[in-house]
Symmetry: C2
Subunit: 483 residues, 2 copies
Amino acid sequence: MPRAIPRLEYLFNPSTIAVIGASREPVKWGSIVLSNIIKGGYEGKVYPINPKAEKIQGLKSYPNIGKVPLEIDLSIIAIPAISARIPEVFEDCSEKNVKMAIILSSGFGETGEEGRRAEEELVSAARKASIRFVGPNSMGIFSALSNLHALMPTIRPQKGSISFVSQSGNLGVQMLSRGEQLGVGFSMFVSSGNEADLHCEDYIDYFRRDQNTKVILLYMEGLRDGKRFIEITRKTTKQKPIIALKAGETRAGAKAALSHTGALAGSSRIYNSVFKQFGVIKAENTEEMLDFALAFNQPLPKGRKVAILTRGGGWGVVTADACNKSGIEVPKPPEELLEELDKLLPSYWSRNNPIDTVAVRDPTVSIDILNIISKWKDIDGLIILGGFGEFYSDFLKRIGFDDFYIEMHREILERDVKKLIEIANNSGKPIFAVAFKLLDRSKMIRLLNENNIPVYYSPERAIKAFAKLIEREEYLKARAKGF
Amino acid sequence: MPRAIPRLEYLFNPSTIAVIGASREPVKWGSIVLSNIIKGGYEGKVYPINPKAEKIQGLKSYPNIGKVPLEIDLSIIAIPAISARIPEVFEDCSEKNVKMAIILSSGFGETGEEGRRAEEELVSAARKASIRFVGPNSMGIFSALSNLHALMPTIRPQKGSISFVSQSGNLGVQMLSRGEQLGVGFSMFVSSGNEADLHCEDYIDYFRRDQNTKVILLYMEGLRDGKRFIEITRKTTKQKPIIALKAGETRAGAKAALSHTGALAGSSRIYNSVFKQFGVIKAENTEEMLDFALAFNQPLPKGRKVAILTRGGGWGVVTADACNKSGIEVPKPPEELLEELDKLLPSYWSRNNPIDTVAVRDPTVSIDILNIISKWKDIDGLIILGGFGEFYSDFLKRIGFDDFYIEMHREILERDVKKLIEIANNSGKPIFAVAFKLLDRSKMIRLLNENNIPVYYSPERAIKAFAKLIEREEYLKARAKGF
């Protein structure tokens, strides 16, 4: 019998939450998660459940969920698996009309035969109680819309348009943390744990329907229902890009995955062919996950031609190489464009693409060059190498320019960056920026982040990500033709 | 007629320097380079040369080099190329017994036919004056030994054991700057510019003979004397690793390189086969340059087997995948080792490699686990994923632990890190660390940096770099067999 579509709005946007296993000891997970929910600014009602406490973290505590005065949408279960009380807890939950649960407790399927049996009992108890659940062995969820940080770690992810399901809690959480460092924001995150009940495809299906999600990110080690994954994926990639890292691809990796979440990794050949056929964008490593997700903040290119704007010859060369390797063209600018640029650049400039501004230092030049390039109809995207970050301001400061001059330089730079954002918004073409000071968090870079211009710290990584926009555009075109 | 080996000690370790084109205007290159030399702490004598000034930056200035009271080892020439005075300057230099020059001026071979002729004149004038020179179109040099920052940009590279020749000034300098951010140190750097006289192979040959250089790094776009490059490379790779990024590999890249330094890029097939035959380690992108250089701070592995120590299942899986893809083995630990680990880890631990400590939080456990792993004779290296950086301290702070506890945790962590360093030093095997907070510059990470344990921010990149140690070991073995 097919089961109803899980109502994941009760998971990601609940009105009432019970934290079962909430504790006054700060080092217990139940206590940490409760504190994260409260400090994270969740606006619904949250009830700590603990048989021994009257008050936890300033909130009235209840000995069991039955005593809570309201119905509960979501139960977060943080009691040890070995207590074997979870099925019983589900019974209590059912009386309060709980729709969703997150089981943080570990020690189930990932630990061997006995754990697998306990996990099966969990599933039966949940079905009896009409509760759908995340986990077990989950590190929790995040939802930007409801300010919900139901997470074991204390991170506060940046809000944005990526929704992410990760079969590894640790890896997922560190990606959120990296996002925070890089200015990459998330709409929803779920550490799906062992996926005893809800599977990664259930979350994907919900992300597909969520208006705030522009890109879906997936870290996976294995699948419990390949057929359903394919069905949902196919439906989803018509609307939104899915970027997936499939780990456990190799023998050594698969062995590690088995002892990690109990997942059967499956052959990488099968996954590659499924991904390709159903338009899933494959990340080859953990860095590519965020690199690629970031790219989809930009519109898709209509073709394969880009202009590269650089301030240093060498960077132009490696970027052109990277384009060639990814099948991206770097065409020569038309003569009339070259003539316009001639007026601004020294006589010996390269007159080609990459457009090398030969480190011309007059700051008013960049904006004029950008204006000229924006008239180039025959390109499908623009890659800008350097010039936005703190590199040059640092230089000015160190050679002894006074604060007044540096401030003036910053104002001109800010004007240029705003102009770039305007050009990007009007052009309908993807524009990527590359900064050379690693993790530059200066005002200009933040301005680019906030306006959805992706910033990379390596041109080669920027180009690989750009190629994924092309891949998606071509997939959508093929699919529109009725494939 | 073969020319004498250039005496590059006068370039990288001069007793006296003249800066020709020194200026009182802070924005002129001559002024910036002079200021960098002075502020950088160069201990020899430096003489500004300027026909119009009496004093520049607190130093007595001379109208021409002839008026300087001492002999000059190195002249740095920062007058515009268009003044066409450089050949004349060489004549003056020759009277002062100048051995080396750096020509920062641009506008030569990289600008077209006329520039190429001017460059040829430069070469004749230098030969007549018995001066060897860097450039033109160079951004300068750095030498840790003599605290010499004869550079156009204001960076202060970290001191270390990498010596680096870059045919792109911009790219080279930004690598130095990244090194500073990542804790990667340099012994010497030269922006070789157009290589009208001294070629990249001349610097490589000098780096080969330099005791402080452990790794040679090369960014190249093309060669002027392929045969000599091969000769010197072959001699060098017997003693030290050379890591090279060959840019301009593709059609688009080669075109860009031509207009950048006038270099003929040559076919990538030829370079690949030369690199392979003569043991040059190829970096595929700019990130790999520093990733690989960093690795060679560690001893070479005797074989292909590694142990992976992780605190999170997912990271273990992607690392095992990366190993498999690079031909690195992840063998199962022997039973007696597993039994020892059983005593420390929860009953459901994976009993396999990656050794997943299942996020055991007792901080005294790590050191015991490390001690056990260090007894594992049959592995050739160790990869440690996480646990050293600020990630966990941040977590403790956020869940409300007081400063006293966090300080205690830091002390235990520091003891563990020191133990790791001791194990690394005694084992003779390569040990790599992976940190998950990007650009973590906390005390523990610095301690690892200072003790030559490479720190990466992505396990996949760490593994690629580890594979290069294996490549080098195998090259040396093959070569010892008389290949």
